[in-house]
Symmetry: C2
Subunit: 405 residues, 2 copies
């Protein structure tokens, strides 16, 4: 049997560099647990790294990776759907295991990868795709499977959680909190994927597949970001003992596919997810007979992500012919968007001053919230469709509307 | 290949009943994931259960379990060290897998079980022994292994956390909070194992083994319970924005075995563990390069514990010859008690009024805390040995002393 396990790293950026460092720094420990030495055989990147200790294994040509028989596992940490998709499929078909941190490609093509891995008798794993270094995929795959999931929900994006935390702690506006996040390197120059909820929608798609056995089209997930959250909303939330968090949610229904969505939600300040601040992520699983469990930690960063990637690698190396059961990645035509009209929630609504009379006519009795210079209130629980038709009747565009979780 | 996987349940109490129910209720789902039907072949209990649907498989004689070739896995949910130890060893030697929820026997004999399982080529697993339904053993075994642990710490006992939460929320005395916990069924009539920290010491022994590769003698873990926590201490903690939690802690040291202890600690109210209230448990892992992660959920109860037990069972059934690497369970003579003198912490100390002058002489400048009718202050960080010698010099027995985490 081979004494070494060869890996190729696709993408030598922050995460790829973190993986190379972790594997190198902990060589002896890893050998103790897996029985083999991990050898970095190839690193694919467009750039050269003449001063890196890994300079000699850098290649610009993916066929070098594919044809190299020393490569047992391909670590795909490039991000983006293409060519990550093509590279992953080619690796699996060539009989190489693949470990990925790329939520976009997992959410879009996870079903094909799982199938291809099974056919080739190799492993496809992606712990780092959700929640960075937090073990959440593995527990859902291995430790919680015997439960009936009621809901899986999470703070899945550290950038938006940092921005919301800043708004709550310092009363910042969204714009000022975003600028601060950009200055600190937590938000990209073009922050759309984060602040519009796109990143979170990919992650909840993956969690939904694991919890409910169906992989939906990410574009069919109703997705609202946090760009509309105002300092006034933060003050109103605080006045009723609530916090606002951008949540990905997947909620079981009786005899129907689950609701899946990404949106800001109002949470009681003493709920476990409300206490998750700054760039931290957390995933809460509500299940029978388990009750609720929460996984919490750093959702991004070189170290945390590298930890998750190498954690996936260990059983692949340690167990021969390790081909974990990955249920759930069955592509479905079910559209959470189409079902969303039936989703029921209470809402906080802010309107221009002077709307009280109209609101009473259209919404009946509501619970007012004191708000300076505007009229804010909480509705009864009602469906999205019902809410939308009442707002249309009202004829006034809300300044804000945030659902209660 | 066999189409069924036979299990025997040792102990048909709350947990054993929960396992039987979960396996029966989710028969189809479990078959889908594991490929086999789980059959409850034997249930060992001293009692008869004539009205139970499982009446026909009840036995009072363990040799029925051992000699029954249909039994592939023994589920040990009896509690206590004996005869759980003897039954477990006999099952492993007979080539049967063992899944346990019994922290006492895991903490005392985990090393022997892991060795015997390895020799027999079977599995020994114990997710339910720490944190009830929270996946924490598995993530430490499989997902976090590639990290260097800095500290593993947790709220490992729901009873004491309920009592402390009650004291903080309602200003209860320890006695009154304990009586309430007993009335609600959260505390036993003899609450010693919980309130004296013994239960938590077993769990931190197990977590220490997983995180630091050495299983210490549980009796050698310095263990303080919560019986000395007074309503005055709760008020003092609140006045400085802190919470008091009973923590099991295992803290890495440079070139030395880790500090291991169970004691109440003062935590800043906004720290993740401080937010864990009521009967909930949580385990926080601080590691490099991961950062920190926390696992949170219900630490006890039939449903949660059964979920963990069946979660252990799934890979045993699904993977042929599944024999997970369980490193860490190497018995050591190292005594955390002997090392504890070197452990450094700041302390909150409450003394009778009029001690100010003596304190200044012995402790130098301290930070006073306003406290009605007594003199309370915070010391600098100092070793246990140093603290003890100063208290001896002081000649006054503290009303309370609680370390800062």
């Amino acid at each position: 049997m081979k004494k070494t396990h060869g890996i190729a790293i696709l993408g030598f950026g922050v995460v790829g560099g973190g993986v190379a460092k972790l594997v190198t720094d902990n060589k002896e420990e890893l050998k103790k647990y897996t029985g083999k030495e991990i050898e970095i055989v190839r690193i694919l990147d467009l750039r050269d790294f003449p001063d890196s200790p890994f300079a000699s294994v850098i290649t610009h040509d993916y066929s070098d990776v594919l044809s190299d028989e020393r490569v047992d596992t391909v670590i795909e940490v490039m991000g983006g759907s293409h060519p990550a998709y093509e590279y992953t499929m080619a690796a699996l078909k060539a009989g190489k295991n693949v470990v990925s941190s790329n939520k976009e490609v997992v959410a879009n093509y996870g079903d094909e990868f799982v199938k291809a891995a099974k056919e080739a008798g190799v492993s496809y794993r992606f712990e780092a795709a959700v929640g960075g270094g937090i073990p959440v995929i593995s527990p859902m795959l291995f430790s919680l499977r015997q439960n009936r999931m009621t809901e899986v929900r999470g703070i899945l994006n550290g950038t938006t959680n940092y921005i919301l935390t800043k708004m709550f702690t310092f009363g910042d506006s969204f714009e000022s909190a975003l600028a601060d996040a950009q200055a600190k390197g937590y938000a990209e120059r073009n922050p759309d994927a984060d602040v519009l909820g796109i990143d979170a929608s990919r992650k909840i798609a993956i969690l939904s597949a694991l919890g409910f056995d169906k992989l939906v089209n990410v574009n069919e997930i109703p997705t609202e970001g946090i760009t509309g959250i105002r300092a006034e909303d933060v003050r109103a939330a605080e006045s009723i003992g609530h916090s606002i968090k951008l949540l990905g949610r997947c909620i079981a229904r009786e005899n129907a596919d689950p609701f899946i969505m990404v949106a800001p939600f109002l949470l009681p300040s003493d709920s476990p997810l409300a206490g998750v601040c700054g760039v931290y992520n957390a995933v809460e699983v509500l299940a029978e007979p388990l009750g609720n469990v929460m996984f919490y930690g750093q959702g991004a960063g070189a170290g945390a992500t590298a930890s998750a990637v190498v954690g996936d690698l260990i059983p692949i190396i340690a167990y021969d012919n390790y081909n974990p059961i990955v249920p759930g990645f069955n592509k479905t035509d079910y559209s959470p968007k189409a079902a969303f009209g039936e989703f029921k929630a209470k809402s906080y609504v802010a309107l221009p001053e002077g709307s009280e009379e109209c609101v009473r006519k259209v919404f009946g009795e509501v619970t007012p919230i004191s708000s300076c210079g505007e009229y804010a209130f909480i509705t009864e629980a009602m469906s999205e469709a019902d809410f939308a038709s009442r707002i249309e009747k009202l004829g006034v565009k809300p300044l804000s509307r945030i659902r209660f979780a």
